[in-house]
Symmetry: C2
Subunit: 346 residues, 2 copies
DNA sequence: CTGAAAGCGCTTACAG
DNA sequence: CTGAAAGCGCTTACAG
């Protein structure tokens, strides 16, 4: 059953069937209902592939997950960020009549842009923790519509790429300010790898909150970790050894915060009574620690929603689309943070 | 740039270009290299859509995530099972030349099969926690190639559907047997909702291990939970109130095991010194609890790998494909289980 | 509001 | 081993 058959059965031309299928409007109501009836009766479904070929538009957006070769994370999709993002992207895209093609590649794979090259997709959203700058440039230069969620605040491109980013600086500022407002004056910061831009930004946020409140920043309160649990642990141990355990700890990600939580627990230090701990990311895990971890949540769904809509606007040629938007993480108060107690166990 | 142009530039016919593109073999080496050279030179990429239309094959497999309307899980993709499964599916499919189209729908959505209807996909894999029996039947009756990972052991279909399932009974048996072998004689079981087939199966496994070892099954050692943390907690509390805390606890999923872990921790009971705890699922969380949770891991990647390959075999018309395969969960020993101590704190 | 014709970019028999 | 022709199932101008 194809449009030709439908046309024949409805006594019209294929052009008219096309008009009905796509709701073009310039069809006489009677003709339209006649065609619709036949389509209904024969359970006709237009062939998506034929439509793509003739209309030169796939109505498919690629979701290009680029794996970091170093980081052997078991599954990218199970990632706290990417899961909800993909979910949102699919829903929002669907409402606009777009489908999603999912691809996973390693960062050095020569075929990353294949989906673009063979015209399988109209646009692509890149999901990755690695540096996509070169790939994005290449794609944009070829005229492909690209979008990214830039956690690293690293994409320096003109407006040919749609990018949603998070200001790590402002977010870290917000977290630190929150602890200061709780009365804490001695706040430890477990930073991420310093070579990463996001680490630098977060550190700046931590510092600027101190500065603004007239608090001194002490280098020994800053511990450099590698975004994993072990380093959260190590930070606490180091501070305890030197006898300079802060009354509040801000970790640059949840994993390190959880490591700190565990270390404190082992040492018999109560959270949040003795020490407050706040993380960053709002990984699912954070809801299951005891005490439940307070943290900074990146508004991933909102970002994903904006990204896909902007990208579709762009590829559909809509004018005056704002191609870049910056978000700030939200504070999620749970059980691991509390007001500073006056009487503190030494 | 299209195949016609390539043909012209290489001085051959389009048929020959097609032969080269698809590696059909019956092309003279010299002709082939000539064509390849031109394709290379002009950076030619065959249009996937045109290929699909003419070959009547999309080389796309749909990943149909069907959401349970009751269960408002934040993100299905972040699910401990679906994440790694999708990952594996994409990789395995890619090696076979297939792409993945991802769709998320609610279980009562009338458009669940749209991707099939409009010929966007050659086959579909359903991912869901809800009962897919009706949907699968409908799809199979329409001749669509379908595959499922059946955690519920509920799909009763002939071999028109490819299904990979897990024997909950054998897996639960294995977990229980493990505890018995550690010397435990008093093993509590936190079962899941009894209306779910998987719960019944797991309970049977628990019982059969007891039977086989000559141990009695005591109804008061069985607590019915709803697969969430709170119920794991409640189970422990109930057992403590009645003074009948087992020396080992087997929970029908990790969340309940974690709940039990937390409850024991609060009561000052040491794990695994006083009580052993084992879960089921091997959720990522389990690696982060303290002590780290021993659990039963469903071999999701292996299942996904088998599923996609079998499905592709089937749609490519390969003969003698085994369309159903049953897996057993693997024991993951971590820190929450240990040999029964003779001297037990009362 | 409607239709005839051409075209999208490939592949598929068929013939040689 | 190679080519000419027809076709996949739609949509797109164009004409009326």
């Amino acid at each position: 059953m194809n449009s030709f058959e439908i046309a024949r059965l409805a006594g019209v031309s294929r052009s008219t069937v096309t008009r009905v299928i796509n709701n073009y409007g310039n069809v006489h109501p009677k003709t339209k209902s006649k065609v619709l009836k036949v389509m209904e009766e024969y359970n006709y479904r237009p062939n998506a592939t034929a439509k793509k070929l003739s209309s030169k538009k796939s109505n498919v957006v690629g979701l290009l997950v680029i794996k970091d070769i170093d980081q052997s994370s078991p599954s990218f999709l199970a990632d706290a960020f990417f899961g909800p993002m993909i979910d949102t992207i699919i829903h929002s895209a669907s409402k606009r009549g777009y489908r999603i093609m999912l691809d996973i590649k390693e960062e050095n794979d020569k075929n990353i842009l294949n989906l673009f090259h063979d015209k399988s997709i109209d646009a692509g959203i890149f999901l990755s923790w690695s540096n996509l700058q070169p790939t994005l440039h290449e794609a944009a230069d070829l005229g492909y519509h690209c979008g990214v969620i830039d956690f690293d605040f690293a994409i320096e491109r003109d407006d040919s790429i749609v990018v949603m980013d998070v200001s790590d600086k402002q977010s870290a500022y917000k977290a630190t300010k929150y602890l200061i407002d709780l009365g804490h004056q001695h706040i430890g910061f477990i930073t991420g790898i310093k070579s990463k831009r996001c680490s630098i930004e977060r550190l700046e946020g931590y510092k600027s909150a101190h500065l603004e409140s007239g608090l001194e920043v002490n280098e020994c309160d800053i511990y450099e970790g590698f975004f994993n649990e072990v380093d959260g642990n190590a930070a606490v141990e180091k501070w305890m050894e030197t006898g300079k355990l802060p009354t509040a700890i801000f970790a640059a990600n949840d994993k390190m915060a959880i490591g700190a939580l565990n270390a404190l627990h082992k040492k018999g230090i109560r959270v949040p009574e003795d020490v407050s701990v706040i993380g960053y990311d709002d990984v699912i895990l954070s809801q299951y620690t005891s005490p439940k971890l307070s943290t900074m949540k990146v508004p991933v769904s909102e970002m994903a929603h904006n990204l896909i809509h902007t990208l579709i606007d762009k590829l559909e040629g809509k004018e005056g689309v704002q191609k870049r938007r910056t978000f700030i993480a939200e504070l999620v108060e749970r059980e691991s943070t509390a007001k500073l107690r006056k009487m503190k166990k030494k």
